[in-house]
């Protein structure tokens, strides 16, 4: 076997095995450096995997040499590659951009623990993205969740603790629901491997335990993915986490839950449960719609930029859920594209917020008034990413919104009202973003000081690279499109037009 065949395993092992080494370090800087290098290596591996997926495909990897369904397999398709790029990219962005910010938030003595947890979270999320086994997904979900709790609890505000406790409870309920669902499926099929499950479900379709299983899995993962109204843990967790952590988790953690949701609902149930697509659609679309509209509206009334963006995330998750709930080829394409593009936009936005807080010390609106004049470069990047969030053409956000609208238009009967809702929520997004942009450019700074105070050049460069990526993928979206196309094909398995 050559190294290329080991790529799926390496994707998980590299960050996972670096973590114990990092926690043994005694120096915060070295720990950060180690974490950054491991994260960069993961990003490189994700790129290699993406290239492989778009080329000849990635062969199934049998852990321990035991062939599935007896052993655990790792499977990488377009959708997995998309998730891997997101997860490793967000982690690298957070670590590289978060050096200064984290040095303030985490004291040197505890830093190795923190960076160890970061790497474990990264490994957990990667592990989910490559797993081909339902229980293995659970294990890695718990790894990433526990590590994420630590990362969020590192926030300096004491409210980080109460937020993270809520997240822990809800996250555990979600994961346990998922496990119950897997249990029911195992009970009826005797297998845990996704592919095998999809095959064997054909014999037991429409039995009560399978329907219950679909319910538990969908609700459990919706909890983890913060689909409205199961989002209550999200805004505070994002708000009070250290800024660099928010960059990381806001870009990818909820998306990984949606990834599993897609895997199950399309890879496993869709071909087998006759009424599944209707049930799933009827369940998810009203939730998604209310999320899109209400969360956007709530975001308008926030006085803290992080909280505002967090509510915006809930709305954006609504878009993804809406697209996924359509149960069509176009819908799935839109869902995957929006995962990618939203991660790109939100990662950039939170990175800008990190820079703001780094120089001003707080994320409240009153404190950030006039910041656009003080930090023109960062603020300009914020505006670009904000436009991508709204879905202005030329930015990445437009591509996925366009796909979403086209997918929605394909729904007979209720296409038009859905389009209206999407457009209305885009307008709401304009309102809540512009509230901040206006304040940033024309507000009076709290101390009346309008002198320049940009963040250091490396961080600024990083922020601008991220912002430009939003434009690049708006004009040249071939990469996410190809991955989403490949992912959709595997998800639907040729079952849908």
């Amino acid at each position: 076997m050559n190294l290329a065949d080991h790529l799926p395993a390496l994707q998980v092992i590299v960050p996972l095995m670096t973590a114990p080494l990092v926690i043994l370090l005694r120096n915060g800087f070295l720990a950060w450096l180690g974490a950054l290098l491991a994260s960069l290596a993961s990003f490189g591996l994700a790129i290699l995997l993406t290239v492989a997926v778009l080329g000849a495909g990635v062969p199934e990897y049998a852990m321990g040499g035991w062939q599935p369904p007896f052993g655990i397999s790792l499977n990488v398709d377009g959708l997995s590659a998309l998730m891997l790029l997101l997860v490793t990219g967000a982690s690298t962005l957070g670590l590289a951009g978060g050096r200064l910010s984290l040095r303030r938030d985490i004291d040197n003595r505890r830093a190795p623990m923190f960076y160890g947890a970061w790497l474990i979270a990264l490994a957990g999320l990667c592990g989910i993205a490559v797993a081909g086994d339902a229980f293995n997904v659970f294990v890695f979900m718990e790894i990433s969740s526990l590590a994420t709790y630590i990362l969020i609890a590192a926030g300096r505000d004491r409210r980080a603790l109460s937020a993270v406790f809520k997240y822990l409870i809800i996250g555990t309920i979600g994961a346990t629901f998922y496990l119950i669902g897997v249990g029911f499926i195992y009970m009826m099929t005797g297998t845990l491997n996704f592919a095998d499950m999809a095959l064997r479900l054909a014999d037991v379709i429409e039995t009560r335990p399978i329907i219950i299983a679909a319910g538990f899995i969908t609700i459990g993962l919706a909890l983890k993915a913060a689909v409205f109204p199961l989002h209550i843990w999200l805004p505070r967790a994002y708000t009070y986490a250290p800024n660099a952590v928010t960059v990381f988790i806001a870009a990818c953690s909820t998306k990984v839950a949606i990834y599993v949701l897609l895997r199950f609902n399309y890879g496993v149930f869709h071909g087998n449960l006759l009424a599944h697509s209707d049930l799933f659609t009827v369940f998810i679309i009203p939730l998604a719609l209310s999320g899109i509209l209400l969360a956007s509206a709530i975001a308008i009334y926030q006085g803290n930029i992080k909280k505002m963006l967090a509510f915006s995330s809930v709305a954006q998750i609504g878009y993804i859920a809406l697209a996924a709930g359509l149960a069509t080829h176009a819908g799935l394409m839109a869902a995957q594209l929006h995962m990618f593009n939203h991660a790109l936009a939100k990662g950039t936005l939170f990175l800008c917020v990190l820079a703001f807080v780094l120089t001003t010390g707080s994320a409240s609106f009153s404190n950030l008034a006039g910041i656009g004049r003080r930090m023109p470069w960062t603020m300009a990047a914020f505006v670009i990413a904000g436009l991508s969030l709204v879905g202005v053409p030329g930015t990445a956000g437009f591509v996925s919104k366009w796909y979403l609208i086209v997918a929605v238009m394909g729904m007979p009967g209720w296409g038009v009202p859905l389009v209206m809702a999407i457009i209305l929520s885009s307008l709401l997004a304009v309102v809540y973003l512009w509230r901040f942009v206006e304040l940033a450019y024309y507000g009076q700074p709290p101390d009346g000081d309008v002198s320049r105070m940009e963040v250091p050049l490396p961080l600024r460069t990083l922020i601008w690279s991220a912002a430009l990526a939003n434009i690049y993928f708006g004009l040249v979206p071939q990469l996410p499109l190809a991955l989403a196309e490949s992912g959709t094909t595997t998800l639907l398995g040729g079952l849908l037009p």
């Binding site: 229980f135 659970f138 109460s162 406790f165 119950i180 195992y186």
Partner: protein, 119 residues
Amino acid sequence: MKLLGLFNYWVFAVLLMIGLYALISKQNLVKKIMALAIFQSAVFLFFITMSRVDEGTAPIIQAGVANQIFSNPLPQVLILTAIVVGISTTALGLAIVVRLHEEYGTVEDNEILAMDRES
């Protein structure tokens, strides 16, 4: 007989819901952690019930005994992992509760929420 054979699953459902109820309605954070443990234990019971087979024994091969019937080892393995995950969550949750108590001086959810609203 058929009904008794489903009793385990009913207990699973009831325990799960007792745990969930306590998670939602109890304000004390330590209580919530205990409720979480009950909630997870219910799932353990669910899986282990699946693993059992009539006339079977624990899946340990004894030398010289042929044609043994074994209970299903797979759910047992899964639950071994799940138990460990459960205790890890409990430990982490408890550590957070201890820190919360230090910061807020209380471990009642509603009181903490009230203090959060003020600040």
